[in-house]
């Protein structure tokens, strides 16, 4: 306790009476290092969170029910859907049919999946209807009308990711020719174009259930999949278990089963994050090492005097380690504040644009404490080495050189 008290006293007085410019510069470098430590994980977290949200809200829903039988269509929708809706925690249910098709407009052609949907149900499960950039979303009973994702329509916007493979200049009100997988061809008026900012969704097209049944009469009272939205707080495993009780021929998937690409991408980001963290920590460690080394070299005589008057070497070492810890804690606190109250709000206003949506930086308490802890460890280890070397010098050599 005495040792810690004296070490704290020595650390405090050296900080108080030390070179303010050096202190400021050291803190500044460590702030930048901390920001780097915080930035990549928060970008990654934001990326995953944003992509997961888009995946759930525009592509998969929370739970996907498919047929487990040879026949890919789930039968008896009229009785099955009310049963699913009756399960506690289920918010909404929407059936979908789909068929691969080719679309043409003037000399351009592209391919995509056309979904037959129940527009009113769809609006309760997905947010696509809120992402219209041209025209309107479908309404129940719409015939001969189709809604296109922007990556199919192109909409005269060369900035989109798949513009070269799109119909390029299709706008709401234009007519396109759709050739379905079963060979049926039909002209459709484009009722609207949506841009969900999730590329897998934006390569989809929608027609009403009634319209889809005209192309594929087998789809009546059947669906190739049923998408379920549940409460945020609901126990999805329990709901899945209850859905399984409704029939043997059902295969239940969660939105996470659709997130394979995202997981592989985030794994790559994790690797990048790890590499950047190692580099950052090396920078932090070397910075603290250099600052401490120069300081210790300049104060070699002072350290010698301290030892000569009976201050224990361990106490002197702890004083330097406390100072390094102070640098790290102050820098990481300043960096955290700057990150939370400057960088994140600014980034939220001008978010990074990714093919799977705008990404907002997201940081958790664990990430913050981890960054602070890692930086503090790096600083303390880096400070220890020069102090240890200085304390090995004979007292007289330290005082008189």
């Amino acid at each position: 306790m005495k040792t810690l008290k004296v070490a704290g006293f020595l650390a405090f007085t050296s900080l108080k009476r030390g070179n303010f410019g050096v202190l400021l510069l050291t803190i500044l470098i460590l702030v930048l290092v901390t920001l780097n430590l915080l930035f990549v994980p928060s970008l990654l977290r934001g990326l995953v969170h944003g992509a997961d949200g888009k995946l759930k809200d525009t592509f998969a829903g929370d739970i996907v029910i498919e047929s487990a039988l040879d026949n890919p269509l789930i039968p008896n929708l009229n009785t099955l859907i009310p049963k699913i809706e009756a399960i506690g925690g289920v918010v909404a249910v929407t059936p979908r049919n789909n068929m691969v098709s080719e679309m043409r407009y003037e000399n351009e052609r592209t391919s995509g999946v056309v979904y037959g949907i129940v527009p009113e149900r769809e609006k309760e499960v997905f947010t696509i209807s809120k992402s219209m950039v041209e025209g309107d979303f479908l309404a129940s009973g719409d015939r001969n009308q189709i809604v296109l994702g922007i990556q199919l329509a192109g909409a005269g916007n060369p900035g989109i990711e798949l513009y070269s493979r799109s119909l390029k200049k299709v706008h709401a009100g234009d007519r396109i020719l759709v050739t379905f997988g079963d060979g049926i061809q039909k002209n459709y008026t484009v009722k609207g174009i949506f841009r969900s900012e999730f590329i897998q969704t934006d390569t989809q097209a929608f027609v009403s259930e009634a319209e889809f049944e005209t192309v594929n009469p087998l789809a009546a009272n059947r669906a190739s999949s049923i998408r379920v939205k549940i409460n945020d707080t609901a126990d999805s495993a329990a709901i899945i278990e209850q859905i399984k009780q409704l029939g043997d021929g059902l295969r239940i998937l969660t939105w996470e089963d659709y997130a394979g690409i995202m997981r592989s991408m985030t794994d790559s980001f994790q690797s990048i994050d790890t590499i950047l963290n190692v580099v950052n920590l090396l920078v932090a460690g070397i910075t603290v090492f250099v600052v401490t080394y120069i300081d210790v070299t300049n104060r070699r005589r002072q350290i010698g005097i301290q030892r000569a008057i009976g201050i224990m070497p361990g106490c002197i070492a702890i004083a330097y380690l406390l100072r390094a810890a102070f640098y790290a804690v102050l820098a990481s606190m300043l960096a955290s504040l700057a990150f939370l109250y400057v960088i994140m709000p600014v980034e939220a206003r001008y978010p990074f644009h990714f093919p799977f949506g705008d990404v907002k930086l997201l940081i958790g308490f664990t990430d913050l404490t981890r960054a602070i802890f890692i930086l503090m460890c790096a600083a303390i280890i880096a400070a220890f080495l020069p102090v240890w070397l200085a304390l090995r010098i004979k007292i007289l050599d330290a005082i008189w050189g």
Partner: protein
């Protein structure tokens, strides 16, 4: 430690003439009060209970790689508790080297150093540091104050390290600064003090843990005449008031008058050893 002066050494301490009389370790032991033979020492080393230091056959050789310099050559002497001993000699005679061995700042090449009845030559560094903290006060030639601390903080730092009396060391530091005449300068940093004032702060610091001995390495070397006088008088007063043993180095023959005993070194050997210098 009994601070009563041994009558055999100080019976005639008021006589200046007796300064010239030299005394050997063997003679001292034969006339000394309560002599004893330490079982762990060589047979010819005798320890007196009232001796604070017993230096025996101390050698220190500096090896520069090309040449070996013998800074101390079989130096033997004893210092009674409460003494005021001056170590004098020309430059490079080994004065500072000797004091550094006695202050446990350096290790002798060979020989024995007994401090307060205990062999300290081979003590591990941690124990030497603790002894410096608890029992020795060291005053350096160049003041050696810590520039980031005020005079008061400089003085109480070793007290804080020892931490004997809670936070009483702060009050004691103030008292010591008063004692050395710097009661009004407690909040001043070393660079705001004159050389003499800094040296007096260093003396106060050396006394904070009530050491058995205060070792001063040419405390007046960098001071003007007035400051030197002030510092030396401070040492005399401390020796008298606090009964602390003081061993100081000086190259100024005039400083003999402050000492009770005298050792003159020449080429690392004791050339002259006198008792009973006039206070």
């Amino acid at each position: 430690m009994n601070r009563t002066q041994p009558p055999s050494l100080y019976a005639a301490s008021s006589s200046v003439i007796e300064l010239a009389g030299t005394i050997t370790l063997a003679e001292r032991c034969s006339v000394g009060g309560t002599a004893c033979r330490a079982p762990y020492l060589k047979a010819d080393i005798v320890v007196e209970n009232n001796l604070i230091y017993n230096v025996h056959e101390l050698n220190k050789t500096y090896d520069t790689g090309k040449v070996k310099i013998k800074a101390l050559d079989s130096v033997s002497f004893a210092v009674p508790d409460g003494d005021m001993l001056a170590i004098m000699g020309r430059s490079s005679s080994g004065k500072s080297t000797l004091l550094r061995q006695m202050g446990l700042l350096d290790r002798p090449t060979s020989g024995s150093l007994i401090f307060e009845g205990k062999e300290v030559t081979g003590l591990p560094e941690g124990d030497r540091t603790r002894l410096r903290l608890t029992s020795m006060g060291y005053v350096f030639q160049e003041y050696a104050l810590l520039g980031e601390l005020t005079a008061h903080q400089n003085v109480y730092l070793p007290g804080m390290m020892l931490g004997k009396n809670g936070s009483g060391y702060k009050e004691r530091a103030r008292e010591l600064l008063e004692l050395v005449g710097l009661g009004q300068r407690t909040g001043h940093y070393p660079k705001e003090l004159s050389g003499g004032e800094q040296q007096r702060v260093a003396i106060a610091r050396a006394l904070i843990n009530s050491p058995s001995v205060l070792l001063a390495d040419e405390p007046c070397a960098n001071l003007d005449t007035i400051s030197s006088k002030s510092v030396m008088e401070t040492l005399v007063r401390l020796n008298s008031q606090l009964k602390v043993t003081i061993i100081f180095i000086s190259h100024d023959p005039a400083d003999k008058k402050y000492a009770r005993s005298l050792i003159v070194l020449s080429d690392g050997k004791i050339a002259e050893e006198s008792k009973a210098a006039k206070l």
